[in-house]
């Protein structure tokens, strides 16, 4: 019953729920111009390999909320956004100044395309999900009438692939093509700050060889363990030296998680537990209520923190999250899980 699970994991779970071809993304290029280079034409090739050519550089952009956060961190402001849930509760949108931006969706799978059409967008920007071959808002499971958003303008966006850094760099390139000064003061300061945070994370991880971490999302009657292969931020952490455990048997047909019954929640004994931050501390309470919780040694020892789950889109957020994780790593005991 995975598709019934969390609202908060739900958005991502449902978004990722079926691997199938996308109807939306390919229609993007049909709107395009000639590709001839002259004053104002715009060319962009996204991670899906689709090249979009327009006569003029787009200015009226509708973006998925996370894509908007990324673009805005480089100084490009969309005219409207659509989010996966109520914006005020969205951990990935805290601190993003959305004043003056229209909201045309606050529920996964539902976008007000009529209002979108009235805004006459010339570009739609959203993450691309390689596993689903679709951009956010055009995946399987989204209302058919909402998917028509893709008919209003070309849809582009970097992929949720192997690294959040690559994702942010993708938005950096896109923003630059749209006229942003990505080498200017604020943007490069954020990048430099992120690099410092990343280096500190790497150092902390290298100073604790043998420290293992497990990313989890206890929800309802099940213990969900995140599979790093499909969580770019966890792949990043692995590449920076933190041993994030790869669950052995990702769920069939839905490999983003491995689901365990709470009866088996002690199967993995990491030294540090990482809770999905989107429904924290509800998921913490869910685990706490399980009699078996104290058989997970890291939990009993209080060795847990949160991980920014599937929403990171800016250097600023990434730097802050990495600093919190670095502290947790520095405080962690690499032998907790081994006892």
């Amino acid at each position: 019953m995975v598709s019934r699970t969390a609202r908060s994991i739900g958005a991502v779970l449902v978004a990722m729920s079926l691997l199938s071809a996308c109807a939306g993304s390919d229609t993007a290029a049909t709107d395009g111009g000639t590709g001839v280079t002259s004053a104002g034409p715009w060319t962009y090739t996204d991670s899906a390999g689709t090249t979009v050519d327009l006569d003029e550089t787009p200015t009226r952009i509708i973006a998925h909320a996370y894509a908007a956060a990324a673009l805005m961190s480089f100084g490009i402001e969309p005219i409207a956004i659509y989010a996966d849930g109520p914006i005020k509760d969205d951990v990935g949108l805290q601190g993003v100044d959305l004043d003056g931006i229209e909201v045309i969706g606050e529920e996964w799978g539902k976008i007000d395309v009529e209002r979108a059409a009235a805004l006459r967008p010339d570009l739609i920007v959203a993450d691309y999900w390689p596993a689903e071959e679709a951009h956010s808002g055009m995946e399987d499971g989204v209302e058919e009438k909402s998917k028509k958003l893709a008919e209003l303008a070309p849809v582009v966006g970097p992929a949720q692939g192997d690294s959040i850094v690559e994702l942010i760099e993708g938005y950096e390139t896109l923003a630059a093509s749209l006229g942003a000064d990505v080498d200017g003061g604020d943007a490069s300061a954020a990048r430099a700050d992120f690099e410092a945070a990343r280096d500190a994370f790497r150092e902390a991880a290298e100073a604790k060889p043998g420290l293992t971490a497990l990313a989890i999302s206890p929800f309802g009657d099940a213990y969900y363990m995140a599979v790093p292969k499909y969580a770019p931020e966890l792949l990043d952490m692995q590449s920076w030296g933190l041993d994030v455990i790869d669950p052995a048997k990702p769920d069939k047909g839905f490999p983003y998680w491995q689901t365990l019954s709470f009866e088996q929640a002690d199967s993995y004994q990491p030294d540090l537990l990482l809770f999905d931050d989107r429904n924290y501390p509800t998921n913490l309470e869910t685990l706490e209520a399980q009699p078996i919780a104290n058989s997970i040694r890291a939990f009993e020892a209080g060795a847990y923190t949160t991980w920014p789950a599937y929403w990171l889109h800016t250097y600023e957020d990434y730097a802050r999250s990495l600093r919190e994780l670095t502290e947790a790593i520095e405080a962690a005991d690499p032998d907790v899980g081994d006892r």
């Binding site: 609202r7 009657d221 365990l260 009699p291």
Partner: protein, 346 residues
Amino acid sequence: MTQSVVDRVAIPIRHARRLPLILVASVLVLGIVTFLSITWGARSVNLGTIWRAFTDFDPASASQTVIRQMRVPRTVLGVAAGAALGLSGAILQGTTRNPLADPGIMGINAGAAAAIVVGSAVVTAGSFGLSTALAFVGAGAATLAVFAVASLGREGATPVKLALAGAAVTAGLSSVTTALVMTNVEALNELRAWQVGSLAGRYANVVTATLPFMLVGIVLALGAGRALNGLALGEDTAHGLGQRIRLTRAVAFAIVAVLCGAATAACGPIAFVGLIVPHLARIACGPDYRWILPFSAVLAPIVLLSADLVGRVAVAPGELPVGVVLGVLGAPAFIVLVRSPRLKEL
């Protein structure tokens, strides 16, 4: 005098003398299912460890914790809630003389859902304990509301009026729930956990909160057989036999409110058990409610725990909530039952 007449309502049937034996056999089957429910699950635990979980409990052992603090409460709830639902189904069917009466159509599940939704819309953060209390109050209030509405008018709560009142209260409460859920995300999230009945994730706190109510209700319900036999003859006859029909109905509904309220608060809405089990009991023992009630109390937990066991293995390593399993297995089983020539008339 009246007593002997009412007693003769219980039409002597061929295997009347064997009924105690059949009941004992059913209890044995319940024992086997209970044993399986404790020993069988996502985690495999050997019998020695299970034995030690009871005789020499070591809280540091994860396997013993699973047995003692997860599977035992789950099984206890399964037995108690099963008996509660089976008995309330039998009482509702007897009181309303409606073979399709069950907690679902008498507004009870709708009442629990509405109370949870209203509660989480008014008080923002709902805890599991609060939801349980709300479900209990809502289920009880809906049952009493159905009875009160049906009691209006000179002839009191007749079977037809009860069925209509149940349908009306269900529709009214459902629309309240829907209206709130469409406008309030908190309420929707709170309700989500209550849309499907389940025995999983209910531990000692839920058992302590709901078990006493279910036990009291079960004891009271088991004593209602003779009164239900009277009602089964029809109002005029029962009245002629000196039964106080209105009082009997009121007491019966109060018992049902306690049983269903507690069972729904503990496990969420569980369909089909209350509907099917009394019919199975009739097939086993005939039309005498003094037998139907104990049979329902034993057969219903067998059905509920078996469905729960199916749910544990059907989609391993995950689990299917028992409410879903019963929905999938219950519908065809009910059709077979309805088509069966052995289905006893009420």
